[in-house]
């Protein structure tokens, strides 16, 4: 009797762990394809693109790069809309910031389960390591993710498999449990050793995680957005704008988003039609978007703050071009605020 080749779908983040997990299963003769989800909060991609400087080599997409190294297909999936419920209503709450890690992992495994069913695959692989993450990668949360995602015993975690109850692929003999790993904890040594064994010398080692929701500064800005809006909601533009520029809230009524470099100025320029905006005309400097309701004194304050971040911040007067829906485009000359005149609490 000829046994069909078994097929597994792997969650590929672009980091080392998911790469190794997929490799361990590939080595056992399983057909593997990858999924990479774009939630909007990913640190990769957009942020690098926005702050790209002329002449700088574009950053690679690590998930695609991993797929190439493994020789597997990778399907990139836009889950921006579906992911909102995870961020806004996490059943298991948030981590240290606004990271809904358990719900997030359950969501992604559930998406993979649907893909697996639709495409006739047999099981799911993740790069999770027992004890590596304080919120989602624990002995008590692993079963929750397997159950709530609907993947149940078709969810294989090759890097920690020997420390976990056998899954269906192991029980059925599709994969040999003895050839999987028993890694645990936050140390990276075992993974680095395994990578060396496979001959992987180049792999991404993201500093500070790959999701903006784990970032304290980003979470503060998102909380501010919800507070001002009076409800927990967001759209894709909100997510993007929170990644870009300096955010200052001088008043509950309005907030400024001030570009930090040319790339951000260009990107924010795409939003000019939707917001009151301003920029220094004669002195190199940033584009500023004004979000909220503003009076004339508010606009003058916004212009003085904008002037603070242009090259001539020490000049007596800086000319700022302002565009509002009511008045169209007009110029004002303002004295830049000094650093001391901008209270720390304005910075989000």
């Amino acid at each position: 009797m000829i046994h069909p080749q078994r097929k597994a779908v792997a969650l590929i983040s672009g980091g080392l762990d998911s790469m190794l997990a997929a490799k361990l299963v590939l080595e056992q003769g399983i057909w593997v394809e990858g999924l990479n989800f774009f939630t909007g909060f990913c640190v990769e991609g957009h942020t690098h693109a926005i702050r790209h400087r002329p002449g700088q080599k574009p950053k690679r997409n690590n998930a695609l790069w991993v797929a190439e190294q493994l020789g597997i297909r990778l399907h990139l999936v836009d889950v921006i809309e579906e992911y909102k419920d995870v961020v806004l209503n996490p059943k298991h709450g948030y981590g240290a910031n606004l990271n809904p890690c358990i719900d997030c992992k359950s969501f992604m495994v559930a998406q993979a389960r649907e893909w697996m069913t639709r495409n006739g695959f047999d099981f799911i692989i993740t790069g999770e390591v027992l004890g590596q993450r304080p919120k989602s990668q624990r002995r008590d949360t692993f079963p929750i993710i397997a159950r709530e995602s609907g993947a149940c015993d078709r969810l294989l975690r090759p890097l920690s498999a020997k420390l976990l109850p056998p899954t269906l692929p192991e029980a059925e003999g599709w994969v040999e449990r003895s050839k999987l790993c028993g890694f645990s904890g936050r140390g990276r040594g075992p993974q680095i050793g395994l990578a060396a064994g496979f001959g992987f010398t180049d792999y991404a080692q993201p500093a500070g995680g790959c999701c903006f929701l784990t970032d304290r500064a980003y979470a503060r800005k998102l909380r501010d957005l919800w507070e001002v809006r009076g409800e927990k909601s967001y759209d894709f533009d909100d997510v993007m704008l929170l990644k870009i520029g300096r955010h200052l809230r001088p008043s509950p009524r309005f907030k400024l988003i001030i570009a930090r470099d040319q790339g951000e100025t260009r990107y924010l320029g795409g939003y000019r039609q939707r917001f009151v905006h301003m920029w220094p005309t004669r002195h190199g400097g940033p584009l500023t978007l004004v979000q909220g309701e503003v009076s004339d004194p508010d606009l003058e304050l916004a212009a003085r703050i904008t002037a603070r971040f242009c090259k001539s911040r020490r000049a007596a007067q800086v000319r700022i071009e302002v565009v509002t829906p009511e008045r169209g485009s007009y110029a004002m000359s303002v004295a830049p605020l000094s650093a001391d005149e901008i209270p720390g609490k304005w910075y989000l």
């Binding site: 097929k7 774009f38 574009p58 950053k59 690679r60 997409n61 695609l64 990139l76 836009d78 495409n119």
Partner: protein, 84 residues
């Protein structure tokens, strides 16, 4: 002579990975041998779309830069493996 359908995808003003995702979505609707011309403005697409082509076996035909705009042309390959 057999004529080949040529399709154009406007992915301008999208930042990576969205140009790749849109390319993937459009490619899924095309037949083997059809040609897709992707117009983008994110320089990252010059790295990502060719990588995506290599991973899926599609043929990268050409990449051109016109000022801020990039045009990446590819030919759809036959899906040779399970999850298309």
């Amino acid at each position: 002579m057999v004529s080949v359908s040529r399709h154009v995808l406007d992915a301008r003003n999208l930042l990576c990975p969205m140009p790749v995702i849109r390319t993937q979505q459009t490619a899924a609707t095309l037949a083997v041998g059809e040609v897709l011309e992707v117009h983008c403005t994110d320089p990252g697409a010059l790295v990502d779309i060719p990588a995506w082509c290599r991973v899926h076996g599609h043929t990268l035909l050409d990449t051109q830069t016109h000022g801020d705009e990039l045009v990446i042309t590819l030919r759809i390959a036959e899906p040779s493996r399970p999850g298309c």
